[in-house]
Amino acid sequence: MTNEIVCAGFGGQGVMLIGQLLAYGGMLEGKEVTWFPSYGPEMRGGTANCSVVISDQPVGSPIVAEPDGLIAMNGPSLARFKAAVKPGGVIVYNSSLVTETPELPGVKICAVPANELARELGNDKIGNMVVLGAFLGLTKAVAVSSIETALQQVLPARRHHLIPLNSAALQKGFSIAEA
């Protein structure tokens, strides 16, 4: 069983972090994992995406060309990667920043108004975790609890006070997907 995922968005939306958390969570569950980043030339802003592979087998290519899952945090990212998603795959996108409603035969699609939900949670920056939660709800790629453990290891100690907020955002997203 191999799960190949692309996370994409603007720089600053936290797509690299949610990709790392997916990989980290997979590792904590005893899987073989890779995370591979792709940046634009900009130091700030611009677009960013990363490939995550979670597998029972040693991972071959860390670059995902045909994802099983896509997390798109903005319109350009959705437009760029949606057609590559495999039949039977999943797309979770940030509908706060995407006006079109994508339709792809054989692909499960979930719209998450991440910016609004983040604001409701009291922190504009937490939208990425809401979308990740929704992705986990749909795919069960890794357990939410593994992501929470991963947060302890990925976030520096001075940010650990934010872990409860991150958990709430993950749960919020998860419940949307379940609904």
Binding site: Q20, A23, Y24, M27, E32, V33, T34, W35, F36, P37, Q57, P58, V59, G60, S61, P62, I63, A65, E66, Q153
Partner: protein
């Protein structure tokens, strides 16, 4: 054993520290900056030295000084920077100064790009600088090998008194994977040849690559060649995966071997007889095993992120006993799994066995 997620470049840097490396001299260049940045943070914690040199040339000459003085010393760079370092590499080969040099390769020629490439194979394995010399060259295929091979590289560099190169690339360096780190080693210097100050020794130690009398230089070169022959006999490493019953053996290293592995796993599900031969040492090259596979009737496909460099060594190893085909992607692009899959399928169907 606890697994931690690390970027390849950071895994390599921590692996070096754990292997007792206490001296790092380098210069910023993308995509290897995680290594000097990691060393700048980490070296003071272990009582080591990190120094950002004024140039690649200075960095490699600081390595020459530190290695000659008996330090376990590392430098890293990326392709254009490695070209600049070749002066010092040649001097260290000539003066038999141990050190480890990491090339997180990017596309060229010239300034090239920041994207991953395997177009420095010739430079790494066939010389690079002037003169008749060889480096031991390791090509890690995952983050764990970044850790394991850097440790081995230091041990071998000192055992042979020779520079060792780790040929990585932008993907191997930037990718995060789980690694198991070995315990921290402190390496006691046992280098009676090193410049330390005489401290009672009757004759001075001299680190030198000058052989101004012709006969001296010939003697030095004969000695070096004998050493390289020992390295060639004893240091070959490779991974062979499913080659015994394969009709086609794909030869690839580093990042391209990862793509090949994905393609092969799909093909095996379709009962295709295809195997992977992944050189871990690029010099010495796993010539013998390729010759044996060729004699057993296997055909070969070489996949590289270059216009074809390692393929020449495969052709030399196979030596007309079998057919060698090449699939390369030019600088800046990585072959996709599908491209490699399609190429292997078409080769197998050409042969009639597919």
């Amino acid at each position: 054993m606890e697994r931690v997620m690390m970027k390849g470049n950071e895994a390599l840097a921590e692996g070096a520290i754990r292997a007792g490396c206490r001296f790092f001299f380098g210069y910023p260049i993308t995509p290897q900056n995680e290594i000097p940045e990691y060393m700048a943070r980490r070296m003071p914690e272990v009582g080591g030295v990190f120094l950002q040199a004024e140039s690649e040339v200075s960095a490699i000459n600081m390595v020459y000084g530190a290695g000659g003085a008996g330090g376990r010393v590392l430098t890293s760079s990326s392709s254009p920077g490695i070209s600049l370092k070749q002066e010092g590499v040649s001097y260290m080969a000539g003066a038999q100064v141990p050190c480890v040099i990491v090339n997180v390769a990017r596309g060229g020629p010239g300034l090239g790009g920041l994207t991953p490439s395997q177009s420095d194979y010739f430079q790494a394995t066939k010389g690079g600088g002037h003169g008749d010399y060889r480096l031991l060259v390791y090509a890690p295929g995952n983050a764990q090998e970044m850790v394991d091979l850097i440790g081995l590289a230091f041990d071998k560099a000192e055992a042979y008194r020779n520079p060792v190169m780790i040929l990585s690339d932008a993907i191997m360096g930037q990718m995060m994977e789980p690694v198991v780190l070995p315990p921290l080693r402190e390496v006691a210097p046992d280098k009676p040849w090193a410049t330390t100050g005489k401290h009672g020794r009757s004759t001075p130690n001299v680190i030198n690559s000058l052989g101004i009398v012709g006969e001296d230089l010939e003697r030095i070169n004969i000695e070096l060649q004998e050493k390289y022959a020992r390295m060639a006999a004893d240091e070959v490493r490779y991974e062979a995966d499913g080659v015994e019953d394969a009709d086609l053996v794909v030869v690839a290293y580093g990042t391209s071997s990862r793509v090949v592995r994905s393609a092969i796993s799909r093909l095996r599900q379709e009962k295709m007889k295809v195997g992977l031969l992944r050189p871990i040492t690029l010099w010495p090259f796993p010539q013998q095993v390729l010759a044996e596979l060729a004699a057993a009737g296997k055909r070969f496909l070489v996949v590289e992120m270059s216009t074809g460099q390692m393929v020449e060594d495969v052709i030399l190893s196979v030596n007309d006993r079998s057919k060698v085909t090449f699939f390369g992607k030019l600088n800046g692009t990585v072959p996709t799994v599908k491209e490699v899959y399609d190429r292997i399928r078409s080769l197998l169907s050409e042969g009639g066995e597919g």
